[in-house]
């Protein structure tokens, strides 16, 4: 029961505190305007320079918005504590860090999910991508799974950031590298084999393939579901381990509250 309270109530309270800039005035530009502009920009670039139909780029970038939100939210949940000088207090608390930080991911996951669904709705409205009524449930589950696996990756990067001081450097690289590796803007034939291998170990690649299948009226391959799930589990374990290791390391080096 206490664990659930830490997870949900703690997560909600931390969300209010850490994402304090997310006021009524800024929520619309942050969760709607920016992702839509990103989607429009890369869709325009893709359709003008590439050979795939408009829906290919629009869907890829709509789902990437979820990844971006999830990765940064997870990173902010660690970085903002550090900036506010409260990270040492949080880590010294009797609650398990993995519960504390996992709880913080729930509200941004929900907002990211809503943002992504809204954009997929736009894709549906403006392109020829369509989906049967029965596929809605699967699509929501898929987006939630992608969000969760990206959050696990974000938490992993945030944990590494405990050691590197500059918490936002790695997430920025990963978020933009995903544009290159995960089949968002490049089809499989346009992506070199080495880049495809890297993409296979990143969240989003398999989930996005399943999303594209659903929108094409096909049933997503079970292997894609399983691969995305496996990636979620793998990054969650890595994040948990790194959080322990680097938190201890940061205490030894007295670098817990240092930020670049």
């Amino acid at each position: 029961m206490t664990s659930l309270r830490i997870l949900f109530v703690g997560g909600y309270l931390a969300y209010q505190g850490l994402f304090q800039w997310l006021t009524k005035r800024l929520v619309f530009p942050t969760l709607v305007v920016r992702p839509v502009i990103q989607m429009a920009t890369f869709t325009l670039i893709g359709t003008s320079l590439g050979s795939q139909p408009l829906a290919f780029y629009a869907v890829g970038n709509a789902v990437h918005a979820t990844a971006r939100a999830a990765i940064f939210a997870a990173t902010i949940s660690i970085a903002a504590e550090r900036t506010n000088g409260t990270l040492s207090t949080v880590l010294a608390a009797p609650a398990r860090p993995v519960l504390i930080f996992s709880g913080r991911l729930i509200p941004p996951l929900l907002t990211g999910l809503l943002s992504s669904i809204l954009m997929l709705g736009l894709v549906w409205g403006f392109t020829d991508a369509h989906m049967s009524l029965g596929a809605y449930g699967q699509m929501t589950l898929l987006i939630a799974l992608i969000s969760a696996s990206c959050s696990a990756l974000g938490l992993t990067l945030g944990s590494i950031g405990l050691y590197l001081r500059d918490v936002f450097f790695l997430p920025n690289i990963v978020v933009y590298a995903m544009l290159l590796f995960c089949g968002i803007n490049l089809s499989a034939t346009q992506t070199p084999a080495a880049m495809r291998v890297v993409g296979d170990f990143l969240p989003l690649t398999h989930g996005l393939r399943a999303v594209r299948d659903l929108l094409a009226g096909r049933s997503p391959a079970t292997s894609d579901w399983l691969a995305e799930l496996a990636i979620l589990a793998a990054y969650a374990v890595i994040a948990w381990l790194l959080l322990q290791v680097f938190a201890r390391r940061a205490r030894i080096d007295a670098s817990l509250d240092l930020s670049a």
Binding site: L22, L26, I45, L49, S51, L180
Partner: protein, 258 residues
């Protein structure tokens, strides 16, 4: 004279500092490499080497703008968090000059963008690059840096006025990518976008860069003239607006809010 000396010293100081911050290195080096690779992969093989070179340099311009956006927005945020925005405003040096040094330093990192993308394109992607007028390209790059800094300074007006605007300032990243014609030719975009790009100084810088690649001296000279003129307008307008919002922020006591 003291203003110019301050501008030079502060520019050098900010540039040295920014060159060691990883997030600016990402914006000015890694981001353009990622964007250039995506663009080149989308275009595919067989494209004219001059057109490919222009796309590569366009990706560099995108990185230049991203680092300027992070630099101008991030600097004001840092000044607020560290509590030094008020002393800077109270100091004898006008605020527009203090911020201009920062904007110029962040856009100067664009030199990294240009060099890194050209090296990556040649040796990483194995592309044949062709630049007909390297000297004109160098001048066009320098003027584009000034133009990008001027646009960043203009944006910082809103950041002085509205402390929380920094959180959404990165919304301006993508529209400027498109409006400058950095990766897509403006002709490929709706007519109103081309119209709007006429008042975007870095768009003229990009035109000059493309003309330098093609060896079209006359177009490059005209574009450089327009770039210089519009940038000068930005600087003057920013100076005027910054003085105005500075007074307003003092009256409303919003300066130290972060």
């Amino acid at each position: 004279m003291s203003h110019l000396r301050f501008l030079w010293t502060a520019w050098l100081f900010h540039l040295r500092q920014m060159a060691t911050v990883k997030i600016y290195i990402f914006d000015s080096v890694l981001l353009p490499l990622i964007l250039a690779t995506i663009a080149v992969r989308l275009i595919g093989a067989g494209e004219d080497s001059r057109a490919t070179t222009s796309v590569i340099l366009g990706a560099a311009l995108m990185g230049m703008w991203s680092s300027t956006l992070s630099g101008t927005g991030g600097a004001l945020g840092r000044m607020r968090t560290d509590g030094i925005l008020e002393p800077i405003i109270a100091g004898p040096m006008p605020l527009p000059i203090a911020l201009a040094a920062n904007a110029l330093a962040s856009s100067t990192l664009g030199i990294y963008s240009v060099v890194a993308t050209l090296i990556w394109a040649r040796f990483g992607l194995g592309l044949e690059l062709e630049i007909d007028s390297p000297f004109v390209l160098a001048i066009a790059t320098l003027l584009t840096i000034v133009a990008t800094a001027a646009l960043g300074l203009l944006l910082s007006v809103s950041l002085v006025m509205y402390p929380r605007a920094q959180s959404v300032s990165n919304i301006f990243e993508y529209p400027i990518w498109l409006l400058t014609g950095a990766v897509l030719p403006l002709a490929a975009l709706p007519g109103w976008v081309s119209g709007a790009s006429l008042v975007i100084a870095p768009a003229w810088g990009m035109k000059a860069i493309t003309a330098a690649v093609d060896g079209d001296g006359r177009t490059a000279a005209a574009a450089l003239g327009a770039c210089l003129l519009i940038s000068a307008c930005y600087w003057v307008l920013s100076a005027f607006l910054l003085r105005y919002v500075e007074n307003l922020a003092r009256e409303r006591a919003t300066l130290p809010l972060s």
